[in-house]
């Protein structure tokens, strides 16, 4: 493969594929669905050129399962889909979380529910990424807002996934997936690539799910001298099923703990505009681009407005959102759904700051004038 490097002009979904390959992904299994299909098409073209495998599975259930299988065999793996396909992946997403198999799932959101407006953008899957799968579980979800960031966060998604032995979801949308923009692709040597922990115990003493103080297991790939048992049933440190209540409790608590204790490493946000503005817009993904334009326009109008852009959706940036709530006189949450993140922000609103949920679900982008009129309305009141 002729790896692009330096300044490039490409589509978001294209940047995602190059980033995945740069991060070390060598297996993709997926089922085509708009607006993610370019990722499949480009993987079909490029993965064989780096001795990887692209596989078009029979459905998204199988895609997610194949991704888990390939990763368990030691090959960094990923898939991409959109809302309806993402729903089909939920069962095995839970399986990957519980069995601690690293993998990356890209959800290029479209308008929904159901097949709705399949070619139009939406942000209706924010809560699905958090609570879509069954059982009590932690999850890492990243949300890019530019082609550059789509590249960067894809690399980061693989790194976090390998570091914490857990699936990482890239939650993007039709606009970011399809738009073409310039970006800079770094030299491979300049990229930080993290690979999963390798066992250090003797083969006889090895237990794949035994962890040290960091709560992170060292699960060897299938085929190594370390025999690995991966079970979607409740399992102890040996990986074999074990249905004791204390085993179940210990496992699920550890799964949460390994993420919770690393919040600072995982959570990213971007502040845009003056930090002490009167009004704070909270947005993510494509809509945060609208919001940035609004912050610039507001400044020209002499209005004190800033933006808190959510980059890590889950775990939720509680601390940063609280800061916004404490500091601003009002908060506008702009999103292409009926207030999924606004509700999450309300959860943190101990300062009783007025929160205005600005929504759009017609498959069209929230445009700057829409947010601006809301700001003017809020400022008047």
């Amino acid at each position: 493969m002729n790896r692009p490097v330096g300044k490039q002009f490409m589509q978001g979904n294209e940047a995602c594929v190059f980033a995945a390959i740069d991060a070390g992904a060598r297996f993709y299994a997926g089922y085509p669905i708009t607006p993610s299909s370019e990722i499949a098409e480009l993987c079909a073209e490029f993965l064989p050129q780096v001795k990887g495998v692209f596989l078009q599975m029979e459905d998204e259930l199988g895609s997610m399962a194949a991704v888990i299988g390939a990763s368990a065999a030691g090959t960094k793996s990923f898939t991409a889909t959109s809302g309806p396909g993402f729903s089909l992946m939920q069962e095995n997403l839970g399986m990957a979380i519980y069995t601690e198999v690293p993998c990356v799932v890209v959800n290029v959101q479209r308008n929904g529910p159901s097949t709705a407006l399949a070619t139009r953008p939406g942000q209706g899957d924010v809560m699905q990424t958090r609570w879509g799968t069954h059982g009590d579980h932690p999850i890492i979800v990243l949300s890019p807002s530019s082609v550059q960031e789509y590249y960067d966060l894809t690399v980061r998604a693989f790194n976090l996934s390998e570091k914490y032995c857990t699936p990482v979801i890239i939650l993007t949308d039709e606009v970011i997936g399809h738009m073409k923009e310039d970006l800079v692709i770094p030299q491979l040597d300049d990229l930080e690539i993290i690979n999963r922990k390798v066992p250090t115990q003797s083969i006889e003493e090895y237990r794949p799910y035994q962890t040290g103080d960091d709560d992170i297991p060292a699960i060897a790939p299938f085929g190594s001298d370390y025999i690995v048992h991966i079970s979607s049933s409740c399992h102890d440190e040996t990986g074999f099923s074990n249905s004791k209540p204390q085993t179940a409790d210990k496992l699920v608590r550890r799964l949460h703990r390994k993420i919770d204790r690393n919040i600072e490493d995982i959570v990213q946000v971007e502040w845009f505009g003056a930090r002490n503005a009167d009004l704070c817009i909270i947005a993510y993904g494509a809509v945060s681009r609208t919001a940035k334009q609004v912050v610039v326009d507001a400044e020209e109008k002499g209005l004190s407005v800033n933006l808190l852009r959510i980059i890590t959706h889950w775990p939720f940036p509680d601390a940063q959102v609280k800061e916004a709530l404490n500091q601003a006189k009002a908060v506008i949450v702009a999103e292409m759904n009926l207030g999924q993140v606004a509700q999450e922000i309300q959860r943190l609103n101990s300062s009783h700051t007025p929160i205005y949920s600005l929504t759009r679900i017609d498959g069209e982008m929230i445009i700057p004038s829409q947010i601006m009129s809301k700001i003017e309305e809020v400022m008047r009141s």
Partner: protein, 176 residues
């Protein structure tokens, strides 16, 4: 006329090469160290005949990625013209195909026989290159050379001369 940010909408029907024209415009702008965003129509919408490319070219950072205030619209079909005629400012230029579009005669409407000229040049497919020439004439925010260079890079070698000729025709014949 120098602007900080230009929003171009190239709209028409599938097969007119508008996505490619948008890409040429975008890549030419990149080569001039400008910031660029290109978006296109997708899926069933594009299969149904309607095709559209949006290009934003700016000297600085581009935040909002859609053409909410277009400066320039190329309308190569009636549907494309009708979609925008009432939704743009009076300053926005709409350059329409004289052969297929009935104009409302807005102040900044400009008609040109794109289809006819492309056919006369020997291939209706060069309509997008004629259009690129016309765009550059009316919006001289890019150097002709950088557009010509990208045309050479993006097109199959054997069709380059005809497209360059088409570009020249569009540039020469459309008047501000």
């Amino acid at each position: 006329m120098k602007k900080k940010q230009w929003q171009f909408i190239l709209a028409g029907t599938g097969g007119q090469g508008l996505i490619l024209a948008g890409a040429v415009l975008a890549k030419a702008a990149i080569s001039e160290a400008k910031k660029v965003i290109q978006t296109s129509s997708y899926g069933a919408q594009s299969r149904g005949g309607f095709s559209q490319a949006e290009v934003i070219i700016s000297d600085g950072e581009i935040y909002f990625m859609k053409c909410d205030k277009p400066n320039f619209i190329l309308a190569l079909s009636q549907a494309a013209y009708d979609k925008y005629k009432d939704n743009v400012t009076s300053e926005c230029i709409i350059l329409y195909d004289h052969d297929t579009v009935i104009s409302n005669k807005r102040m900044n409407d400009k008609g040109y026989s794109f289809n006819q000229r492309a056919i006369e040049l020997g291939n209706s497919k060069v309509i997008n290159s004629v259009a690129l020439g016309a765009i550059l004439k009316l919006c001289p925010i890019l150097e002709n050379e950088s557009v010509i260079r990208k045309l050479k890079e993006e097109l199959p070698e054997k069709v380059v001369p005809l497209n360059l000729e088409a570009f020249e025709v569009g540039y020469r014949e459309v008047t501000p």
